[in-house]
Symmetry: C2
Subunit: 105 residues, 2 copies
Amino acid sequence: MTNTTTFAALADKHRHEIIQRLAQKPLSVGSLASHFSISRPAISQHLKVLSDAGLVHVRQEGTRRIYAVNRQGIADMRTYLDGLWNDAFAAYAEAAQTLSEKDTP
Amino acid sequence: MTNTTTFAALADKHRHEIIQRLAQKPLSVGSLASHFSISRPAISQHLKVLSDAGLVHVRQEGTRRIYAVNRQGIADMRTYLDGLWNDAFAAYAEAAQTLSEKDTP
DNA sequence: CTTTTAGGTAAGTTTTGACTTACCGTAAGC
DNA sequence: GCTTACGGTAAGTCAAAACTTACCTAAAAG
């Protein structure tokens, strides 16, 4: 079930880079934070947003928390976009057919 | 070339509904605005964001401007997500192989 | 030519969200 | 036990984004 939240999660520059890095390799919060100029708590907050959106998941490992991309979340977004694309395609096909265009919704 | 802007465009509740409606059928600004509780200028501003992100395009029709989904824009997002998904898959496969997990980036 | 319809843009306000510092809990190591 | 490393959460600040009203231009209709 993809909604606004999911897209909002990827709408931020830092979160974009976070998920990019996690896609290459699962990482701990501290290790992740070391690549950024913002504070560690800021990274934690970004991870919460990504987690709430279902785009990442955590696994505890001793005192560390290892974050990784949740592939299902990505797949769900893809599916949503597929739907949009197909609908737009159908609408386009219909519009091409009935060249008498009314605007009445 | 999908970036933060593209996701930000779909990160808003109203823009989400706008593109949903446009996917069903291309619509004029006024016709679109009639379905929302916010003002018409607000809709115009949202359409600008969507347009700048390459997700919709306009066609002038007399005094009206008909907005429709730009399928290429949607396709580009899909491609981006594919990349993420594949990278995460590779990372997962590698992690499964080398069960000795180091955190050194 | 005047009027109406359609919609983009500017300026100002309010709401949201990204950051900071400070603090607290938990697991491992001595 | 105490201490250190790792991170989540709270409270407050500042900037960005989403609205509003007011205004202006362009095409069609009379």
